[in-house]
């Protein structure tokens, strides 16, 4: 699979990580998404801001219900609206605010400049079309390729993600592939149009560890070859440690900590991050007598947040935590934490 990518066009990208580290490809500012339900609005995403630099891999970590998937779906308006409604914020990509685009313009961005990989490779591939058709579809729609060109490119893509005898497998249907192979097909589809940004929503969660290791290797390899920026959503702190450059930790629909990957693991500055890292069982040395657990449950996001959402479970909570929701405080150059304990004026 190494040899086939030499044909590819974006050679500039290969030098990018070092050359233009500061170039921002995607900037999200103050994103707010709510779901209207019979019992009132659920505030799934609360004032989320982050930026994505060219060539970097941003890990988004959080538990189920923390709003990580909804945030990424909101970027491309992939949510059913209603009940979902994006009530505020800007998503700047290529000099345009994606939230202001019409459906036709959005369609050009989806699968074109921004690729998406979903969690479950079985439900995100269409069972009644061949894999070849599904890879060629974005090529023909976005890049206006003819059948033969699209076919050649599809084979090239399948080889790129490590599917053996790619030419023969184009006419196979999704059910003829194993879970890991299907996820490779999903990656191939997402990469089809040379996206500038790839959003991967828990792409390895449904896979076995040995297959997960294969997919992670492929992603590392592809990043070096293609140099696109990646947003990687996961709940697995181990996976993030291995591949991310920067990490945003989400809780209660907001980013609670934002840091370079080394800083985050060496010196986590939000109590939730600290607690999350402590709950993991040790993988070497003596086993701990008892696992550290975070008491309580994830917050209910009905209504506006008026206090820190983590306060009820936090062992370090102070009075202030119950009175107001902390903003993201800057701790040092690249690390931010939404915790009153880190308030420079506090």
């Amino acid at each position: 699979m190494a040899s086939t990518s030499s044909k590819r066009t974006n050679t500039i990208a290969e030098e990018q990580p070092a050359a233009s580290a500061a170039q921002t490809v995607l900037e999200v500012d103050g994103l707010e998404t709510i779901f209207q339900t019979q019992d009132g609005d659920v505030h799934a995403v609360n004032n989320v801001s982050f930026s994505l630099q060219a060539g970097e891999l941003l890990g988004i970590v959080g538990e189920s219900g923390s709003g990580k998937s909804v945030t990424m779906m909101s970027l491309l308006k992939l949510l059913p609206m209603p009940p979902a409604e994006i009530v505020g914020g800007k998503v700047m990509f290529d000099g345009r605010d994606l939230l202001q685009l019409g459906l036709d313009e959005l369609r050009e961005v989806r699968g074109g400049d921004i690729g998406f990989i979903f969690q479950d490779p079985m439900t995100s591939l269409n069972p009644v079309f061949t894999v070849g058709f599904q890879i060629m579809e974005p090529l023909r729609v976005h890049l206006k390729m003819n059948k033969q060109q699209a076919r050649d490119r599809a084979i090239e893509l399948l080889e790129l993600v490590g599917i053996p005898s790619a030419g023969d497998r184009l006419k196979d249907f999704p059910h003829q592939f194993s879970g890991g192979m299907r996820q490779r097909v999903m990656i191939a589809i997402a990469l089809a149009c040379d996206p500038k940004v790839l959003i991967a929503d828990e792409p390895t969660t449904a896979l076995d560890v040995t297959v997960q290791a294969q997919i992670l290797e492929i992603i590392k390899d592809l990043r070096q070859k293609l140099g696109m920026a990646i947003i990687w959503i996961t709940h697995d702190l181990g996976v993030v440690a291995g591949i991310a450059d920067r990490v945003a930790v989400m809780y209660g629909g907001q980013i609670v900590e934002y840091a370079d990957v080394k800083q985050l693991y060496d010196d986590p500055r939000h109590p939730y991050t600290r607690a999350l890292l402590q709950t993991l069982p040790r993988q070497e040395g003596e086993r701990e007598a008892r696992l550290v657990s975070i008491p309580g449950q994830a917050p209910n996001l009905k209504g506006q947040l008026t206090a820190c959402p983590f306060a009820p479970r936090c062992s370090e909570a102070i009075d202030k935590c119950w009175q107001a929701n902390p903003p993201l405080f800057e701790i040092n150059g690249s690390q931010k934490s939404a915790c009153w304990l880190e308030d420079p004026n506090g």
């Binding site: 040995t210 999350l276 086993r287």
Partner: protein, 336 residues
């Protein structure tokens, strides 16, 4: 390990509670107009292991390796194709349905999906009381008391008896499932991926609960999981399964520190570590390809198609199950 030292005293913890030998569980494949039998899915193919009283045996492997089938077969939730399962010295594979029913209270199960294993139309109280109604002669007052006691022991508010499963979160539902399994004071519980559907912060709560209950009640667990780091925490001994067979069985420390089987080595090296420094320097054994179909397993060693060190012999001859070191068993020609 503690169990090994006390093993001489047969009444103390350390006696064998469950002894499985040559367990086979094949599911027939039918095809064509006349539903002719064309083959078997060999989900579990010749397992032998024992579980001592009071210990936790971890059973790990990837999806489709037969670990859940093993868990269910050990409780005889399936009719076995072949093999002996002795529970407290009695072969439960041969029991009649009635005799089996009398044994059921001693062996229980906790399921993976806490949503699917609780009847949505029953209240929590009714769910937990159901085994008591079936197996114990109790007045309804006694039952109510017992249900409250059980809810208490799994860390839930006893006032919740009249609520329905959908009113609870995943972690709480798993606790209800555990309370139900405990209702009849079992000796042995098969935990089939009890934490796989839960969030990281909730997993630790449930694992701690399982450990506390084990200490209080002297329970014996067969803990089935694909999460190796959690198994490392909870299990005393660990069995690694691949394609219906056990590849390696060893005490926890030995298995994680010095795995002997190439599959165990690959599996352990694939587990991500939550430490960027370690991750950036790790050498991974990346297995090629996918698990073969259990209806047509490879000749010789079942792992030979993906094994990084396989030799000619591995493709023709099935490896013997042998004790490499005291208590450390492995099925591999090459392990030393």
């Amino acid at each position: 390990m503690a169990e090994a030292e006390t093993a001489t005293n047969s009444a103390a913890p350390g006696e064998t509670l469950v002894n499985v030998s040559n367990l086979k569980m094949h599911f027939p494949i039918y095809k064509g107009l006349f539903r002719k039998k064309v083959g078997d899915v060999k989900a579990v193919d010749g397992l032998s292991f024992e579980i001592k009283r009071g210990e936790t045996l971890g059973l790990v492997g990837e999806s489709g390796c037969g670990k859940s089938t093993t868990g269910r077969a050990v409780l005889r939730l399936y009719e076995l194709t072949d093999g002996v399962i002795s529970f407290e010295g009695e072969d439960i594979a041969q029991l009649s349905n009635e005799e089996l029913r009398a044994r059921r209270p001693h062996m229980q199960m906790i399921f993976q999906d806490p949503q699917a294993c609780l009847n949505p139309r029953m209240t929590v109280g009714a769910i937990i009381a159901e085994p008591l109604v079936e197996h114990r002669q109790m007045t309804s007052e006694e039952r109510k008391e017992r249900v409250k006691e059980l809810l208490n022991s799994v860390g839930m508010n006893p006032d919740f008896v009249n609520r329905y499963p959908h009113e609870f979160s995943g972690g709480q539902r798993q606790r209800i499932g555990i309370a139900r399994a405990l209702a009849l004071d079992p000796d042995f519980i098969v935990c089939d991926e009890p934490i796989a559907a839960l969030d990281v912060s909730i997993q630790a709560q449930v694992v701690n609960l399982l450990e506390d209950l084990q200490k209080e009640r002297g329970l014996t667990y067969l803990f089935i999981s694909h999460d190796l780091s959690m198994v490392r925490h909870i299990a005393d001994r660990v069995a690694v399964m691949y394609l219906g067979k056990i590849m390696e069985l060893a005490p926890r420390e030995a298995l994680f520190k010095d795995p002997k089987h190439p599959y165990t080595q690959a599996l352990l090296s694939a587990v991500p570590v939550a430490n960027p420094e370690v991750e950036s320097q790790r050498e991974r054994v990346i297995l090629k390809g996918d698990v073969p179909s259990p209806s047509n397993p490879p000749a010789g060693c079942v792992f030979c198609t993906r094994c990084p060190v396989a030799e000619e012999k591995c493709f023709s001859e099935a490896p013997q199950w042998r004790e490499l070191q005291p208590d450390q068993f492995v099925a591999c020609h090459l392990a030393k």
